[in-house]
Amino acid sequence: MSYLLSLKELVNTLYWARDLLVEMFEKRKSFAYKYDDAAEIMGEDKLEILINKQLLRRNGPYVEIDDQFQQFFEQVLEVNEEINTSYINENIQQVKQHIVYYLQENNEHRRYSYLKQVKGALRKIGRITLRNVIDLNRNIENTFKTEPNYGIKIAKLESLDEKRRAVYNLIEQTDHLITDEELTFFTTAMDEELKQVVGLLRGQLTESRHNLIETQKQVIEYLNQVKYHSRVQEKIKQVKYLKDQFELKAKTNLAELMQQKNDVVFESRPAYPLKLSLDLLHTDEGNQSVRKVADKLKQAKRPSMAVAESIASDDLLPQTEEEIYIDLEEIRNGFTASGRHLYNYIMQYNYPREVSYEEKITIFCQMVSMYEQDFVIKEAYQDDGTVEYAVVLPR
């Protein structure tokens, strides 16, 4: 039951609610419209009136345009998303019925009204068909471009393809209807206006048909693309599986395939070291470059000289170190007086400190070399068990 009493009331209501309705209609797809937001625009009392008149419907914290009105707006403004083939079908049935009535009716006045209805329905069919074709195209493109889920994408495209076929059938039916099926009606009732309507309808049908052929191509291409894509995906999974099982090389033609590929991609990145041009280095430009490099090589920070610590004052004081000195001169004097041979004398000598055997040997050698003129070195040799020595006597 309608809550609006007359058409005048409806038009008036739509008029004063226009701001809100326009706003809500524009946002119908983007988000649910909040009751509070609507109240901001209209005022709550007016909003309640709209809800009471069932132009709007309240849904929890949200309000939406009543479905009936929304569809009405969409249809009139030709922005509907749904492709509704049943609607055309219904119109075709209606045309058929009215044609039957027209042919059976004898009353001229009533016949005229049937004829008018047929014309209206035919006009509608043309418009709706064309509209449907355009919507179909847009939907297909949207689905292909925006639907992220591949399974759903394929299903949607296939169902749209189904719809395309249905629309195509309806076009054929309509065409059949106006050319062959109701030949009697279209010859007897043909007046100027009907001729125009049929002509227009034929034009629209042809246009729709051409569009549909294009659509069909599009759908097939899209479906192929999607399917190709999922095949690629499938392939990647399979290859990856084999790789993870370490079977890829054995069970596929990978090695063979790689053998054929000589793409540079596979090579390690080459470097091309070039020698400097000696001629260039002689020029001013070359000189500048050399300077630049030299600057770069120069170390910015010079290592500071290591400075020794200052000398402690204690270290400056004279110190005495005592060393017991073996006076070779004294040994020589003693030796000259002793009448023994040198080796024996040195070994027996009473040193001012402890002297080791090696030192004594050293002293022996030093004595011989220093005071050679004072001694007589015999050809005779003796052995003390460790070293063999010449017998040396004082002169």
């Binding site: 992220p148 591949y150 894509h229 690629v232 995906q233 392939k235 990647i236 999974k237 399979q238 290859v239 990856k240 599986y241 084999l242 790789k243 079977e247 890829l248 090389k249 069970k251 596929t252 033609n253 990978l254 090695a255 395939l257 790689m258 053998q259 590929k261 000589n262 793409d263 540079v264 991609v265 596979f266 090579e267 390690s268 990145r269 080459p270």
Partner: protein
Amino acid sequence: MNIPNRHTADIFEWLSKGKFICSNSVEDSSRKLYTVIEENFDDLYHYFMAIGFVLEKGDEYFYFSRTEARATLENKIEQAYRWIDVVDFFTAFNNGFAPGFRFTPSDIMVQVKIDASLKDKLEIMKRLTGDGSYSDRISTLVEKQLVAPGYAELENEITMQYKVLTSFNYIKQLIVSIQIQEEIVHEIPE
């Protein structure tokens, strides 16, 4: 022989390092090179052929190959193995990981946190990513395996947004062209 144009040196410089020149590169200069190659493909092809490089045309990208092998087979297979891991990881991160796709390392981080199998894949790739926190590893992976070889470029430094380049198709194509023995395919679990 005439040098085809003044961009030849740049093209050589870029391609001889094993990189790609892509049509959807973030850099203007790189896109410019793409157009240059596209317009002078035949000339450049012959020119580079004379110095031992084959200019190859892929799906919206160019690269160099050689007439004879320079890399050892083992190296190539090893490289392919690495790519399989990398591609598998990124497609597991997002189905739509393909040229033109944009992502940030933090997107991947979020996904790694909620997806155990993705985390597992990242764990396994330690050889490529090194140790460190997950976010470090993801950054390394993106930088070393995608950006350095030229499969992706940093598009926005502030948001750290990367863009996948057309060259990514190269590795994808490579994987697709691996033929698995017929009877083996059925043994692979879904």
